[in-house]
Amino acid sequence: MFVFSGHPRFFNQLYAGIDYYSLAARFITEALNPSVYTYEVSPVFLLVEEAVIKKMIEFIGWEEGDGIFNPGGSVSNMYAMNLARYKFCPEIKEKGLSGLPRLVLFTSEECHYSMKKAASFLGIGTENVYFIKTDERGKMIPEELEKQGSAPFLVCATAGTTVLGAFDPLDKIANICEKHGLWLHVDASWGGSALISKKHCKLLHGIHRADSVAWNPHKMLMAGIQCCALLVKDNSGLLKKCYSAKAAYLFQQDKFYDVNYDTGDKSIQCSRRPDAFKFWLMWKALGTTGLEERVNRALALARYLVEEIKKREGFQLLLEPEYANVCFWYIPPSLRKMEEGPEFWQKLHQVAPVIKERMMKKGSMMLGYQPHRGKVNFFRQVIISPQVSREDMDFLLDEMERLAKDL
């Protein structure tokens, strides 16, 4: 069994489709096999990374800043957590956490699970991650944030949650963080690419007030796995101070060129892939307007699908989406007359896994399902690739009916 994420009916994850420029760029970097730690070994890719970071910072709305590309949004979130911790108490780098007063961090109930993994990996502990309540649209409730007693060293807002595609109200959250002097990290791994669209960037209004942002172009912008940046507002070298180890065999100070270009010591990694390049080449080829069209198209198609779902019998939207996640139930004919009580929901919960199995064994399409916050298994349709058209959306609904009508 083989799964092709470039297929126009692959909707299973927060990445999909193929960009030919990105693919060519990836073939080039595979052939060159560089490691982006020093200018001497990787002159082109290091300079490209700096240029891309600078451009992404511009879209966030900072005058200047810093950043690095990482192997995943989860790792970007870890970087931000560690950086905020370092800013709060730089001694932790040398002394560790033992014996220190416990630090906590706040994030929303809808945050990505990497926040928990990060907390345990970094020695903070998953119990010290406090989950702030969200509203019925999956957005963090700022008043709930303000209510918390303890002072966190980090507040993490999410711009584009994994399941619902919700955007936390960044301005209100930033107000609270500023008032209390808290580090605000925005996990915009999924939603960050909306910044490229003049029409939709308002979803992230207030993001310039963040101290750090995680943004994964390999998701909505199809830059190719992996392409994940951590951007930092600080321009005083905090990232480097936090992470450097000054290894003498790599970062010699007596090189024949300006060693400030050796940016690898900002990373927790030693050898590192040239992940920014594929994004750069694609951006050069398409221009900002080309990338913007993509985002607009994906969200327009999502809107189309939502309207179709509302029109069709047997399909029920979970909520009005604000991004590219369209969450819905398919209710087979046999359940349509049933009252919406516990028995109905219990039966409906069993429908999605069967449909999923059937679609995969047939190979006609792929989309994901999950239970979430007390709601039984529902489908999460994600639209990304420009190859996808209305026909594919119609197909999705038709195929679901075909696969499930006997349930």
Binding site: G72, Y113, P353
Partner: protein, 451 residues
């Protein structure tokens, strides 16, 4: 490639895209692969950073560019990049190009998937398990666990975190605040990722006890014992020892058997950072360098170094097969790891990692291994050793060249003493003047001419 904004039709010109790919592929095959491996071509086309920035025209603009311009950019990028596959690129602990592995990498890119669940990456989930099992077999374990991670630094961090979790399982939930001061031990020649790991994990770099090495760069087990006693006397709790097999600069191998004895006596997690030296396990002639590795609790091994499979390919191997890795890292996200899937969800191995999305790193290694066999890999390793021996002899023979020490691996460290300094070893400023000449350690690993 204009993209239609109408939702009626696909917004992607596949024919134009494929044509572009074909052209780009021809360019990279000629400029990066063929010329890159040609000894008569340059290893690097040096430019000062500011000049290179201008040449590359890095700025990202609102409008796109015609296809030919983009292809020119591909040429420029290749031209000004260092050719790490060049037969005279010896700068790092990786070099060369294997065509099978490169094909594996290109297929990986074309398929563009993440490796968290069986449904998403069925082939690669199964393949990863097979490859990891093979690596474990070479280590000497008939069972165990593991995962591919984005680099040896992160593999070492995994080891540190799993060791902490095993010793103090509550720390996953509660954090390290209430733990006693933890102590970890590694040699003075160890890789700096141990430092970065200690800082990142909240253990603290001050709590790394650096163990002395002998004149060959190998950890002295008696010193390790002393440091452990010292840490205990200071009220710290030793929880992790990292021995290195193939240190970064000198290529030294710590004496694993004696170190294992010490760890066993004190009940401390024994990790072996074999990121560099692990590949010697493939050679029946040279694997003795890692005698005792089967006594480790965990091993880091990077096939992207000596086996030339391409960055990144770093295995974190674990002797435990009780699911420790899963318990340590698992978060059971319900949108990925649903328990009610229609297949056996124990194949969904993604929750063992600290990553969510994760690259497929196993295909390039698997394809190479299938193509050349263990014997083919062994021949490569033996050949690299043989060439090192040859170079060491030549260095000894030639005037002006001086070995730093006899290599036991394939790091050859030497000074070039220019004529003006020869015979002046007694003078006070000899070493500082020599230090200005030197390019530091060189690593000899010629790409094999045949697989």
């Amino acid at each position: 490639m204009a993209e239609s904004s109408s939702l009626e039709h696909p917004g992607l010109d596949k024919a134009a895209g494929e044509e572009f790919l074909q052209e780009a592929f021809q360019i990279l095959l000629e400029e990066a692969v063929r010329k890159g491996m040609d000894a008569t071509e340059k290893v690097c086309d040096w430019r000062e950073p500011q000049e290179l920035q201008e040449l590359l025209d890095l700025e990202l603009r609102s409008h796109g560019e015609p296809r030919q311009r983009v292809l020119e950019r591909c040429r420029d990028v290749i031209r000004y990049s260092v050719k790490t596959c060049h037969p005279r690129f010896f700068n790092q602990l990786f070099s060369g190009l294997d065509h099978h592995a490169l094909v594996g990498r290109m297929i990986t890119e074309a398929l563009n998937t993440s490796q968290y669940t069986y449904e998403i990456a069925p082939v690669f989930v199964l393949m990863e398990e097979v490859v990891l099992a093979k690596l474990r077999e070479l280590v000497g374990w008939s069972s165990g666990d593991g995962i591919f991670s984005p680099g040896g630094s992160i593999s070492n961090m995994y080891a540190m975190n799993v060791a902490r979790y095993r010793r103090f399982p509550d720390s996953k939930r509660k954090g390290s605040w209430a733990l006693p001061r933890l102590a970890l031990f590694t040699s003075q020649e160890s890789h700096y990722s141990i430092q970065k790991g200690a800082a990142f994990l909240g253990i603290g770099t001050d709590n790394i006890y650096l163990v002395g090495v002998d004149e060959r760069g190998k950890m002295i087990p008696e010193e390790l014992e002393k440091e452990i006693e010292r840490a205990k006397a200071e009220g710290a709790v030793p929880f992790f020892v990292s021995a290195t097999c193939g240190t970064t600069v000198l290529g030294a191998f710590d004496p694993l058997g004696s170190i294992a004895d010490v760890c066993q006596r004190h009940g401390i997690w024994f990790h072996v950072d074999a990121a560099w030296g692990g590949s010697a396990l493939l050679s029946r002639k040279h694997r003795h360098l890692l005698t005792g590795i089967e006594r480790a609790d965990s091993v880091a091994w990077n096939p992207h170094k000596m086996l030339m499979v391409g960055l990144q390919c770093s295995a974190f191997l674990l002797r435990d097969s009780s699911g420790l890795l899963q318990r340590c890292h698992g978060a059971s996200a319900t949108y990925l790891f649903q328990p009610d899937k229609f297949y056996d969800v124990s194949y969904d191995t993604g929750d063992k990692t600290v990553q969510c999305g994760r690259r497929v790193d196993c295909l390039k290694l698997w394809l190479l291994w299938k193509a050349v066999g263990t014997e083919g890999l062994e021949r490569r390793v033996d050949r690299a050793f043989a060439f090192t021996r040859y170079l060491a002899e030549e260095v000894k023979r030639r005037e002006g060249f001086q070995l730093v020490l006899e290599p036991e691996f394939i790091n050859l460290c030497f000074w070039f003493v220019p004529p003006s300094l020869r015979g002046k070893e007694g003078s006070a400023d000899y070493w500082s003047r020599l230090g200005k000449v030197s390019v530091g350690a060189t690593v000899l690993r010629p790409a094999p001419s045949k697989p």
